[in-house]
Amino acid sequence: MTNQPPNVLACIDGSVLTEAVCDYAAWISQRVAAPLELLHTINHHPEMANNANLSGNIGLGSQEHLLEEIILLEQQQSKLKLQKGKLLLQAAKERVIAAGTADPICSKRHGNLIESLIELEDSIRVLVLGIRGQVHDNKNKQLGAKLESVIRSLHRPILIVNDTFKEPQRIMLAYDGSKATNKAVDMVAASPLYAGLNCHLICVNNNEDTAAKLLQQATEKLQSAGNIEVTASKLKGRADQALCEYQQTQDIDLTVMGAFSHNRLHDMLLGSFTHKMLLNTNKPLLFLR
């Protein structure tokens, strides 16, 4: 695995957003010229019981029979899941090939998504993930249960898809001078993904001077990289509201930001900015970590 070039990894689970995830992943993989890998995880739930026989007795060979019974049941369920996964990946593969990606890799893994992603981390260049999984389909104001854990445990760029695909023209980069956003600016400047795009560099700060100074620095950094068209703007007010409004008025296609730079306790008490952005925006978010 270590010798391979890192992949753009798209997580496929059969939810409504799966198609959009495929499209965005295809777009990124073509722009950064990295192979595309489609991942579907098949999760058993050993912590859940499928059978319940409350007769409470044990007789001749109870243990052996019980084991056989459980194995048979789980085998059937797993076979169904395998079959479903195969179909999903097939459909996704056809879709990304139609979108122009040559030779996507299809992988199926047993185990839960977070564990699989952590194991694969070294081979990931960009992770593409739907904002909510199949369980929460059609619940528009709900985030996927694993989303925060995935973002927190991986240190790779993660694109969160929450709407159908539209090829990004204008991206928005939220900047506040913090370590996380400085890193984001560096990464945007260095990556071929953003070449030729119009980048709106936004600083939300109630002090105009600070904002101007911060924007100045970041703009220079971005422009020195070359092919990025920078539009710098200062905004006031609450960061999440201001950014979302700006995004709508300027017709931004993609928001780039740092994510979860505070620990869980801080976020639990004060609320997380990343969390608010995830809830309030309806355009894809790219988290750089």
Partner: protein, 498 residues
């Protein structure tokens, strides 16, 4: 660390865990009472122990979904202590057992389980089942025909009730057996033994009580010979049960945490007036069968047990012993590994001997630890014997120079050393002997002595001896080998050998 658990261990299977917890609690009551009677203490000692142990292992145990409580295997080990010294010394022995188990957990002795061969495990569970059955016999000797009739009827209810349509699979049949038999006994006013005749039942919640014994070396001398086997048997049965549940649920468990968890549970039991306990194979299987998977099932089992016992003690007193005997016979039948008897013709003779030896030693001594010791010893001997066959020596003679070259292949260690020496022909008149050891492994000092012996004998007969490949052959003697599971090192030592 000991209290750390994943959310899904607790909340992954709430409905299944609660239902299974109730079923298990109902099955635990007769068992806890029966095992107290085996140990010779009041039923409340076993019931308090079952509550404490189930409650504590739910949090500290290493295997979610496993049921621990007062057990027969432990009860059998404490009979003499209770008879000679009384309950207070049993409580101290329980505390010490807990301490020893925690120690075992920190010394990571859980990994020693890998020395216990499959046949020994089978022998252990079979012996356990036989002991539980034998323990019921006093209730079935010198009694009126009513008792036999009730026991037989009880067994009939337990095994036939689940075939009833609709309710058969949703009401625990042991409970139906107990309720029906109690009702019959009360209605007919039969003069037979009831649980109430066996000693006190709990009427309050358990409370903290430091055992009333002098804390002297004398006390330690009395309880230590009981605590050590208690600790060993408790861990053995717990770890074996954990492996069974691992297999059933296709998940892993933390064996060393289980050791510590059992220790803490036993200390708690000892401080709250309970006897020592461990994991229960039968109950854990019932738990999984009833849909229990998580820690919540163990917690529910303990909690419901206590609630039922404390609030229904007047009713529990009326339960005829015949009903308990029927339930315990079911437990022994369910614990016994019948496949080990059915397949006895298909299994290798050595496996059967190990299994039977374990069973015989346990039934004879009533000590599961001794049985396991004999089983492990036999299994090791059989293994050493098998491996010693993997050795042969062939030779070629070069007549011109009167030189014979011996090629040694295979494993040379204490058991094969003599047959190694026997391969050499010392009567042959030779100028020179070459011993090629490139394809041999010398595992211990016995092997080296054997080689020395061969060389000396040849020299005494007047031959020159040359050894080839000694370094490769003796690399396995170094004790460090085997500790490092380094593929490269193993390849270096074993490589090129067949």
């Amino acid at each position: 660390m000991l209290l750390l658990s994943k959310k899904q261990d607790w909340l992954g299977n709430i409905r299944g865990d609660i239902m299974a917890g109730i079923v298990v609690a109902l099955a635990l009551i007769p068992e806890a009472i029966a095992f107290s009677i085996i140990a010779g203490v009041d039923p409340k000692v076993g019931l308090y122990a079952s509550f404490c142990i189930a409650l504590i292992t739910a949090f500290t145990g290493g295997r979610p979904g496993m049921i621990s409580a007062a057990t027969g295997s432990m009860a059998l080990l404490m009979v003499t202590l209770v008879k000679e010294q009384g309950l207070q010394y049993l409580l101290v022995a329980t505390l010490l057992t807990g301490v020893l188990q925690i120690l075992a957990g920190y010394l990571k002795l859980g990994s020693l389980m890998s020395f216990i061969a499959r046949s020994v495990v089978t022998g252990f569970v079979n012996a356990l089942a036989i002991l539980i059955f034998i323990a019921q016999l006093p209730e079935l000797t010198d009694v009126s025909w009513h008792v036999y009739a009730m026991t037989a009827g009880g067994l009939g209810i337990i095994y036939l009730f689940p075939y009833m349509p609709f309710i058969g699979k949703s009401v625990p049949s042991p409970l139906v057996c107990i309720l029906l038999l109690t009702a019959i006994a009360m209605y007919l006013k039969l003069d037979i033994h009831t649980v109430g005749d066996m000693g006190d039942l709990p009427d309050t919640l358990p409370f903290f009580l430091w055992p009333d014994v002098p804390l002297t070396l004398e006390t330690l001398k009395i309880v230590l010979p009981y605590s050590v086997p208690l600790a060993v048997v408790g861990l053995l049965e717990s770890l074996m049960t954990a492996t069974i549940i691992d297999d059933l649920t296709d998940t892993g468990s933390d064996k060393n945490r289980e050791c510590k968890g059992q220790g803490i549970a036993n200390i708690t039991a000892g401080l709250f007036g309970g006897m020592a306990g461990c994991a229960m194979i039968g109950q854990s299987v019932i738990n999984v069968k009833s849909g229990g998977r998580g820690r919540l099932s163990t917690l529910c089992a303990g909690t419901f047990l206590l609630i039922m016992v404390v609030f229904m003690d007047e009713w529990i007193k009326q339960i005829p012993m015949a009903a308990l005997v029927a339930v315990m016979i079911m437990v022994s039948i369910g614990t016994f590994s019948w496949s080990s008897i059915i397949n006895i013709n298909r299994l290798p003779l050595s496996a059967n001997i190990i299994m039977l030896a374990t069973v015989i030693v346990v039934v004879w001594t009533h000590n599961l630890a001794l049985g396991v010791f004999v089983g492990v010893l036999l299994a090791s001997l059989f293994f050493a014997n098998k491996i010693s066959h993997f050795m042969y020596v062939d030779s070629t003679l070069d007549e011109d120079s009167s030189t014979r070259t011996y090629h040694v292949n295979g494993q040379i260690f204490f058991n094969s050393a003599d047959s190694f020496v026997a391969y050499f022909n010392f009567k042959e008149v030779l100028e020179k002997v070459i011993i090629d050891l490139t394809h041999a492994h010398f595992w211990d000092i016995s092997a080296v002595y054997a080689l020395d012996k061969v060389v000396i004998k040849f020299r005494r007969e007047g031959a020159d001896v040359e050894l080839i490949g000694l370094n490769e052959a003796s690399a396995t003697i170094i004790d460090r080998f085997g500790i490092q599971n380094n593929p490269e090192e193993i390849g270096k030592v074993m490589g090129g050998h067949s």
